[in-house]
Amino acid sequence: MKISIQDIEFSYNGVPALESISEKFGKGDFIALVGPNGSGKSTLIKCLNGILKVHKGVVLIDEKAINSLTPNELAKEIAYVPQSENKKPVLTVFDIVLLGRKPYINWKPSKHDLKITAEIINLLHLETLALKDFNKLSGGQQQIVYIARALAQEPDILLLDEPTANLDIRHQVEVLEILKELARKGITIVIALHDINIAVRYASRIMMLKEGKVFASGGKEIINEQNIENLYDIKVKIFREDSRIFIIPEGI
């Protein structure tokens, strides 16, 4: 599903957080939002699914403005994986993933809802954990469960806010490989990332945000020393090996 962002603005109590942002993403794009803390990555993600209402401009999915859809219709198109969640009551992994079926459930899940939930649990290889207490899982496993929960919504667009923030490198790679595979199947992925190396390695498009504005946007060609240094305000060295890019911080 295509996303078109047209000149949106958002501010928190008068303090601008996003200013004149315009972008177009296509079906199956893997878009990484990068930039320093407070640059507006999370805010932009929340504007894309209407959790935050933009003050100016419009977000379109497949030519339809998101505020013309009901919240429930929107939830069938766009799924959201939040940054972090509080500790939960005792629920099994199956219960958590089933929660993603909420937009389709009125007051009781149908057989179809249970079937989809089971399919997604299998897809992400969570079968052995399905009836375990979610709180007993490791951070990496929990993150994969959250992605599964989002997939249960059968979305065309998946928004993720720092999904790898608390994970070790193995689980970071595991999560991103899963996302890459989903993008290959046609799901549009928009992900806020802190780790620029990971972003460069997995994303098909990179959107650099600084102080609520688009600093640079495009493919791997925008990764150069000057851009990164200006974006994060540090000195970096970039090494290229075959098609791979490595960004090494040098100092302030």
């Binding site: 959201y80 629920l91 937009p103």
Partner: protein, 356 residues
């Protein structure tokens, strides 16, 4: 492969349903025990006689006019407080929340006292242990409900603030409780002796005032409330993962929370306006049920309903028999059970998360 997983999940759900049936069985046993407990010598034989239509006038009087309405009242009040507690806990994501700890019970009690004494909804008769006779139960309930909304407003306002922790909300609830407690004291101060006796007696919950007619009013509120909560259970479940996530699932967070709080307050108010403040049922019961079957509202709410009824009936039966022939108001007993558990939860929550 997926079929097997669904089967396993359904098998897992059977545990929750089994718990429900178990509590139901316990309830039946407690009802029977409660029917034959008391100072009047009425055994199982009399119950069988009553069913067969050949019981003595005295036995049928005691069973039909005293014990049965009291049992029905205990069950309905317990159900009502337990489902309100479960819903308050889910809506505020606060395991310490309950009608009593949020100050909703206190506010309702004040509203009821206000209607009885100042709005003239009750008449007082002299007598050794007589209480105010409520001759306008609707006015009393409505007043209790309106005042309970005042404390809901404060709680919602506070929980809207960033950085309001579960402890702060409960602290606010305790402040609200003591404020309304002072309000009740003020009404007491300006009332005559008989009224005074009736309010004092009435501020700790007592099921001795249960009659068929007030049971009917409570039932007319509690059953629709229960159905409403079950219907909303998936919305409540979504809220557990945070407001923003719930919004991304298409839930209208503000509306769900507001209607849930108001409806739960109504259920609390109707019970409190007839039977007084019965503390901690709404905290203890959902907590125990969560422990046993987990925090899935779809099961938690109906299971809390039956467990709450059974638990309050058990408490009341104990209160009636523990120092027989003196009948202890059940509110005193539930406070003795609930207060230590509340303290335990508070201490446990200091170190780590509250929920598990």
């Amino acid at each position: 492969m997926t079929g097997r997983l669904v089967l396993e999940y359904n098998k897992y759900l059977r545990r929750r349903i089994f718990f429900f049936l178990l509590v139901f069985l316990l309830l039946v046993i407690i009802v029977l025990i409660s029917l034959v407990s008391g100072s009047a010598d009425i055994g199982f034989r009399s119950i069988i006689d009553l069913v067969a239509g050949r019981s003595s006038a005295f036995a049928s009087q005691v069973l039909l006019k005293i014990r049965m309405p009291r049992i029905a009242g205990a069950f309905l009040a317990g159900t009502s407080l337990a489902i309100s507690g479960a819903v308050f806990q889910s809506l505020l994501r606060n395991p310490l929340a309950s009608p009593f700890t949020l100050g909703i019970s206190g506010a309702s009690a004040f509203g009821a006292a206000f209607a009885i004494i100042l709005l003239g909804a009750g008449t007082s008769y002299g007598g050794s242990n007589d209480v105010a006779v409520i001759n306008n139960p609707y006015l009393v309930t409505i007043s209790a409900f309106i005042w309970s909304l005042a404390s809901v407003a404060v709680i919602l306002l506070l929980s809207g603030y960033r950085g309001s922790t579960p402890e702060i909300i409960i602290l606010a609830g305790i402040i609200i409780s003591s404020l309304f407690g002072a309000g009740i004291s003020a009404i007491q101060y300006f009332s005559d002796n008989v009224q005074l006796a009736s309010i004092v007696f009435w501020t700790f919950g007592d099921l001795g005032r249960a009659t068929w007619s007030n049971c009917l009013i409570i039932a007319l509120v509690v059953f629709p409330v229960l159905l409403f909560f079950i219907h909303q259970s998936w919305n409540y479940k979504s809220l557990q993962s945070g407001d923003e996530y719930a919004k991304s699932l298409g839930v209208n967070v503000t509306r769900v929370r507001l209607t849930g709080m108001v409806v739960a307050s109504l259920a609390t108010a109707v019970v409190t306006s007839f039977y007084g403040i019965i503390a901690f049922i709404g905290l203890v019961v959902p907590h125990i049920v969560r422990r046993i079957i987990g925090g899935d509202e779809q099961f938690l709410i109906p299971a809390s309903a039956v467990s709450g009824g059974a638990f309050l009936l058990l408490s009341d039966t104990l209160a009636r028999t523990i120092i027989s022939p003196v009948i202890l108001p059940v509110g005193i007993l539930t406070s003795f059970i609930g207060a230590p558990l509340f303290l335990f939860l508070l201490i446990k929550g200091m170190g780590k998360g509250f929920w598990s």
